[in-house]
């Protein structure tokens, strides 16, 4: 294992200390390992929190700040955070208007957030939850834990965070988050594996001439191992299920998000985006906004994911609204 670490067990704590040192104007870290917006709680504002295993940076901690998340709960690498963290986050950001939990659909995340929401409610804080499950690689969700929450989470956190920032109430913010979830589809692939620091060796083996199509963001194997193909062919393998499943059709306006898994250069992401744009053009789907870069990663895995969100006027306006976080910043 070759990594820039001091000790496997210290990675998350030291990275959090580094974030505090770098972004003290935006955020602070409170016990037990919760990243909270520096000016929390804001009276009368709905709190928006999320969380998940570490190893997906900048998600979620990099999205804490004005116009996005009020708090993020990082677990151990690839392991959901514990209820104590979400409870502490909920209490820290509650400004009296309630708190929305944005939860990625993984068995552990869902259970730990559920426990935290039950505990927060017993303390008199109104909590609502939306589960993001946008990964079309998971097919028959009736017989599985359901679709995983992946790239759509980033877009939901930005749009919903903007709605909370402009003063929308908990019911409206929750309904908006659900609307984003209902209109977003993603799929990813991996060229290489990744190594969890505490495990010390790659999560899965993959040949030099192979790729994993439909991979999750934890290096959990996808649906299919295939021979390596060209960027355009890979883009088609991801885009076709997204377009079909989401029913994206002529006249639709979308936000297109090409995401790096951690080990893929921006140069290659633009090669992928070029073909995403061409495929949308062919279908008559208008890309109104885009996001290209590594925002929801899987440690050092090489690969990418593609996310399409069908936009309406409100989502578009909220996407454009000012945001000031470590990872996303515009309009300020």
């Amino acid at each position: 294992m070759k990594k820039l670490i001091n000790a496997p067990d210290a990675v998350v704590d030291e990275a959090l200390a580094g974030m505090t040192a770098a972004h003290g104007d935006l955020l602070k870290v409170i016990e037990p390992n919760v990243i909270v917006r520096a000016d929390s709680p804001r009276s009368g504002k709905v709190g928006v929190i999320s969380g998940g295993g570490s190893g997906h940076e900048p998600m979620h901690g990099g999205f804490v700040g004005m116009g996005m998340l009020d708090a993020a709960c990082p677990g151990a690498v690839f392991t959901s955070p514990v209820p104590d963290q979400m409870l502490a986050a909920t209490k820290a950001v509650d400004g009296g208007a309630g708190v929305l939990h944005i939860v990625k659909n993984y068995t552990g995340d869902v259970m730990n957030f559920e426990l935290a929401a039950e505990l927060a409610q017993t303390e008199g804080i109104e909590v609502s939850s939306v589960v993001i499950a946008d990964d079309v690689a998971v097919q028959d969700s009736l017989y599985t834990a359901g679709r995983r929450g992946v790239g759509g989470t980033v877009l939901a956190e930005k749009i919903v965070g903007a709605a909370a920032e402009e003063g929308q109430d908990l019911a409206a913010v929750t309904a908006l988050c659900q609307r984003v979830q209902d209109n977003v589809r993603s799929m990813g692939m991996a060229l290489t594996s990744c190594t969890v620091p505490a495990a010390g060796k790659p999560t899965f083996e993959i040949g030099d001439d192979e790729m994993e199509v439909g991979v999750g963001i934890h290096g959990e194997p996808g649906r299919e191992r295939r021979k390596l193909a060209s960027a355009d062919e890979i883009t088609e393998a991801l885009m076709t299920p997204i377009l079909d499943d989401g029913g994206f059709s002529s006249g639709d306006r979308v936000l297109a998000f090409v995401n790096g898994m951690g080990g893929t250069p921006l140069l290659e992401l633009y090669v992928v985006y070029n073909h995403v744009a061409a495929m949308c053009r062919d279908r008559g789907v208008a890309i109104e906004r885009n996001l290209i870069g590594s925002y929801i990663t899987s440690l050092e895995m090489a690969g990418c994911s593609i996310t399409l969100l069908k936009l309406d006027d409100e989502m578009l306006r909220l996407w454009d609204a000012p945001v000031h976080t470590a990872a996303l910043r515009w309009g300020v």
């Binding site: 151990a76 392991t79 068995t107 259970m111 495990a199 194997p221």
Partner: protein
């Protein structure tokens, strides 16, 4: 021995923690084949903390207090799905034990049954989903059937049934948890949750046998 007391329950926690440490790589390896490669790491972290918490308790702590300390510590330290699941299991044991200093085999069975029911409620898994439920459900059934033969015999039957349950579902396709994302590719891999649950019942059997 005929009843479960605090000394034996503490020995079980120690033994389970030792074995999770010994078999950490094996559990993580099983998890990397069909999950996300953290089960051994998370269970070891949780039971290392739980063992330390139990060691801080008063020497005469009742059974419920010991089980509750384990459950709360797991929920606060493990994360993932294992934290809430194992945590709920121990909290239900705690409620069933209450403030008693020792319990008879039938009441151990009732507590284990309550623990299994809590686990099923939290995880919403049923038999053949290929989860820890496939180990603990036959285990509690076997315990109840053998409870009349004494605690050691009943726990022996429970541990054997857990191991059989774990192996029985290995050929199946997983329907819960991260393994379910693999579809057909999850078949013929041993389930890490059913494996750690079997280790737990074997540790309980051995802790009682050593008493």
């Amino acid at each position: 021995m005929t009843a479960l007391d605090g000394t034996t329950l503490r020995r079980f926690v120690e033994l389970f923690a030792d074995r999770l440490r010994e078999r950490r790589e094996e559990l993580t390896q099983l998890d990397s084949a069909i999950g996300d490669a953290d089960h051994g790491i998370n269970m070891d972290r949780g039971f290392t903390a739980a063992r330390a918490k139990v060691a801080e308790l008063a020497p005469n702590a009742d059974l419920g207090t010991i089980a509750k300390a384990v459950g709360m510590t797991l929920i606060s330290t493990v994360g993932g799905a294992s934290g809430p699941l194992y945590g709920t299991f121990f909290l239900r044991l705690a409620t069933a034990f209450g403030e008693r200093a020792e319990v008879e085999p039938a009441d151990v069975g009732a507590a284990l049954r309550a623990g299994v029911e809590g686990l099923v409620q939290r995880g919403k898994a049923v038999l053949d989903d290929k989860t820890m439920v496939d180990a603990v459900t036959p285990a509690i059934d076997a315990f109840e059937a053998a409870a009349g033969e004494g605690l050691a015999a009943a726990l022996g039957a429970a541990a054997d049934a857990a191991a059989s349950g774990r192996d029985r579902v290995t050929p199946l396709v997983a329907r819960k948890g991260r393994a379910s994302y693999l579809g057909e590719r999850s078949a013929n891999h041993q389930d890490p949750g059913a494996t750690s649950a079997t280790i737990m019942l074997e540790a309980l059997r051995d802790a009682v046998a050593a008493a």
